[in-house]
Amino acid sequence: MARQLKARSAGFAALILALALLGVAPAVLREYDTQILLRMLLALVLAESWNLLAGYGGLVSLGTSSAVGLGGYVLVGLLNHSILPLPVVILAAALSGAVLAALASPGLLRLRGLYFTVGTLALAEALRLVMINVNQFGGATGLFLNRDPPALGALVWIAVGLLLVTLLVMEFCAHSGVSLLLRAVRDDQDVAAQMGVRPFRVKLAAFAAASALMAAAGGLQALKLGAIEPYGMFGLRWSIDTLAMVVIGGLGTRAGPVIGVVLVMLSGELLADYPEAHLALTGLLMMLAMRFAPRGVAGLLAVLPARWRARTTGA
């Protein structure tokens, strides 16, 4: 137990150090690299939140784009039409994600996994079509931000802060009674209900928390762009990329999202001139992971050294 605590505090120290380094990074990095850093931070927030839903809660969502898009639209709308300061607006964007999850929960959460996945996809596409067709939301051309956005470096700091919040939420969910509740509901909803767990509430809490974090990330994305339109903010790419990163990195593992974000973004940079090839490769890797490595690269890294040792000592 003491050893575990020590390991955890060492992990925390390393985490704080890493986040501090990320905070300094904008001062040293070139503009392009800082852009990539910001994209990675936002992708990591999305991947961690998605892993909370799917990896720990068994809720495979194809609706990342609905929270991302909503957060972006709420942020731009509030910045344009109110005098609220930026931190409050980002909080409001996060809140909108939680509200969306709560409103959608009667339709999406009472059913078993199958319908949740397609339901989240339907919700995301429905929101996109609403934004395209309703002129008050800017229609197909979208909205422009009226206020001056923060500098790129400041955006990175905000993103680092959001990532820290995300990691704290994950830490809380992975190492407390919450993780037991989530896994109980994921593994057998009926038995969990028999034991006095309320599956609907547990799922709703995870869904709302993940959606809030995703919406905040969407808000930061909108802040970075300065102009948003429905095809991009509500694009399926958010949902596809997030899912692929976690599945390739390691579904339900703590290290999975980081590994997945780095791998997928790295291959994206290498294949920057061939976006179709990059996406096809991503899909292929997902299928391979499902078949041969259900816990992704993180799972392989945890298992392979032991196997290798067993083979060398056995021979």
Partner: protein, 289 residues
Amino acid sequence: MSIEAAASSLVVGVLLGGIFSLTALGLSLVLGVMRLVNLAHGEFLVLGAYAGYYLLTVTGIDPLLGLPLIAAAMGLVAAPLYRFLIQPLMGRGVEAPMMTMFGLSIVLQNLYTAAFSADTRSIETGYSALALNLGPVTVGLVYVMGFAISIGIVGLIHLLVSRTAFGRDLRASAQDAGAAAIVGVNVPRVQMLTFALGAACAGAGGTLSGLVNSFTPASGAAYLLNSFAVVVLGGLGSVLGTLLAGITVGILQSLGGVLFGDGYRDLVALLVFLAVLIVRPQGFMAGRG
């Protein structure tokens, strides 16, 4: 909009709905028999549309005459997909095969873009512009033909499921795969044939969709969601329920288009889907374990 135009629009809705029932049938069969949400179903439909398009432009064969060919080819392609992608994952929960099919959908969509370009296409035959005048109502001939063919195929599948030995095995596997295996049903074989049958339906339905509407490599998501709306509305395991649900969704889409503008047509199917999930939260798989 005049009364005549509105009436024509509604008739077109019914006719499109018939095609929807065919495009949704494959999804419904696969979901019912193997509890698999085939997230690549939309891409199967898009492949059917491209098959019809290239059959016509390259060989000159009429896509309606080539329909059996397209369906057979899709079935033949789908059988090994089941064998190598899905069967190894059976028994590992519903998520693993579903996400595998999602990976396949991403691969296929990007292969289409690379191979066929991202251009919007539609299948233009010699009779594509012909219209039928039935009293005050005017509808395109392709809608009527697509409807008739779809109804015919759906009817045949209904007979296959309800009257044949294969259909009996299929229904047994859908109800309880374990019990079916005990009484001697070769469940993996039934599942493979069902998957192939679903893909064949998607091939034919995709070609018909390509005849009546334009499509792109990215049309799969809209096709999938439209089909899924029909499936949840019609209920699983009922071929005739799928037919009625398809026509209902077609009518509602046309109503949405007439009342709010064409931009809302796709939104209607999504709202139907979400509404059914809220109104019937127990789902249509309740009571089936």
